[in-house]
Amino acid sequence: MKTKLLDFVESASLKKEMPHFEIGDTVDVHCRIQEGNKTRVQIFNGTVIARGGRGINETFTVRRMVGDEGVERIFPLNSPNVVDIRPIRSGKARRAKLYYLRNRSGKGVRLSHRHSTHTVSK
C-alpha cells in the first residue's frame, strides 16, 4: 500500500511517452540547458552503454569520443530537461552494460550495425 502511494506521487513526474532505445544504440539526446536567462536545446550524441535505476530514478549513460578522449554523461530518463532521445543507429551488443568500451580506443569503440526498426534516420 505504501509503495503504491509513493509510486502514485512519482507517476506525476514520469514522462507519458518514452522513446524506445536499446543498449548499444547511437542516440541524439536533446537536453535543455540554461544560459543566463535563455534556455536552448543542446544535442549530445553518443552510444548508450548502460541503463540504471527504476521509476523516477531511472538513468541512462551515453558515451562518445571527443578526439581521443572519452566523454560520458548520465541522464535522468524522466527529467524534463531531457527533451528528446532519438536513436540514430542500432549497435550489436551482447550485454547490458558496455563498460568494456572504456578500455578501447580508435576504431575499437565501434559496434557493428544491427538491423532494427526503432531507429530514426537523421
Binding site: 502511494l5 502514485f8 506521487v9 513526474s13 524534463p80
Partner: protein
C-alpha cells in the same frame, strides 16, 4: 481551523516546474473525525478533538468505544486536540469529517511527530560537538566532550557542573516539530499531502499537520 492528523507514508522525489528534482515526503492525512468540541463552559477552554485511524475492533477498550460512540464513530488510535482562541470561528461540529481539502489554499505547513529513537548517543551526534582530531597525537578521545567544568568557584557554580550542561544521553524518540514545509500537492482521492523536505519519525509514524504559523502564506 487548519490541522489534520495523519501518517507518514515515506519519501520520494518529484520534478518541480523548473525541472529540478525535489525531495518530498508523502503524508496520508485524514479523514479525521471530530471526536469532541470542548468549550469554556464545560471544559474550561475551547478546543476541537480530532481522531485518526481506526483501532482493530477486538482491541477497542470500552471507555474509548464509549467516547467515540458519542459521535457515532469507531474508536481512533491517534487522538489530538486543536486548541482554539477566543476569536476562532469553527463551523465543524462533533462527528464531522475533516479532510485534506481544508489545506486547499495553504502554502506552507508545520509537521509534528515523534522522532526516531537513537538510543544512548554521544555528544557529537546529540549536540553537534566537534570532537577531537583523528590523528596528530590524539589518543582514545576522538569523540569525547572535552572539559565539562573547572574547580574555580568564580564561575558561579562553586566547582559544580553548570545545570543543563550538554552531555551524552538518550537521543530521539521525542516530539519534534518541523516547520515551514512547502505544500506541493494535495490529492483528495487518496487523502495525500506531498510536502517538501523530511519530517520527524519513521514511515508509518503518526504526525500532526498544521498550517504554518511563522511563514507568510503568500498566494499560490
Amino acid at each position: 481551523m487548519s490541522m489534520l492528523l495523519g501518517k507518514k507514508i515515506g519519501m520520494t522525489q518529484v520534478y518541480d516546474e523548473e525541472g529540478r528534482m525535489t525531495s518530498v515526503t508523502v503524508l496520508q492525512a485524514g479523514p479525521c473525525k471530530v471526536m469532541q468540541v470542548k468549550t469554556p463552559e464545560t471544559d474550561g477552554y475551547s478546543a476541537l478533538q480530532l481522531g485518526y485511524d481506526d483501532v482493530k475492533k477486538s482491541r477497542v477498550k470500552k471507555p474509548a468505544a464509549g467516547h467515540a460512540g458519542k459521535v457515532e464513530s469507531t474508536a481512533k488510535r491517534f487522538v489530538c486536540e486543536w486548541r482554539l482562541g477566543e476569536k476562532d470561528q469553527v463551523e465543524l461540529g462533533p462527528g464531522d469529517d475533516v479532510k485534506v481539502s481544508i489545506f486547499q489554499d495553504v502554502r506552507y505547513v508545520d509537521v509534528a511527530g515523534t522522532s526516531k529513537g537513537k538510543g544512548y548517543a554521544g555528544v557529537m551526534k546529540r549536540h553537534g560537538f566537534g570532537g577531537f582530531p583523528g590523528s596528530h597525537g590524539t589518543e582514545r578521545k576522538h569523540r569525547a566532550p572535552g572539559s565539562i567544568a573547572s574547580h574555580a568557584s568564580d564561575r558561579g557554580h562553586g566547582g559544580n557542573l553548570k545545570k543543563g550542561k550538554r552531555m551524552s544521553g538518550r537521543l530521539g524518540g521525542v516530539r519534534v516539530t518541523s516547520k515551514n514545509h512547502r505544500l506541493l500537492f494535495i490529492d483528495e482521492e487518496n487523502n495525500l499531502l506531498v510536502i517538501k523536505g523530511s519530517v520527524p519519525g519513521p514511515a508509518g509514524g503518526y504526525v500532526e499537520i498544521r498550517r504554518s504559523k511563522t511563514h507568510r502564506q503568500k498566494e499560490k
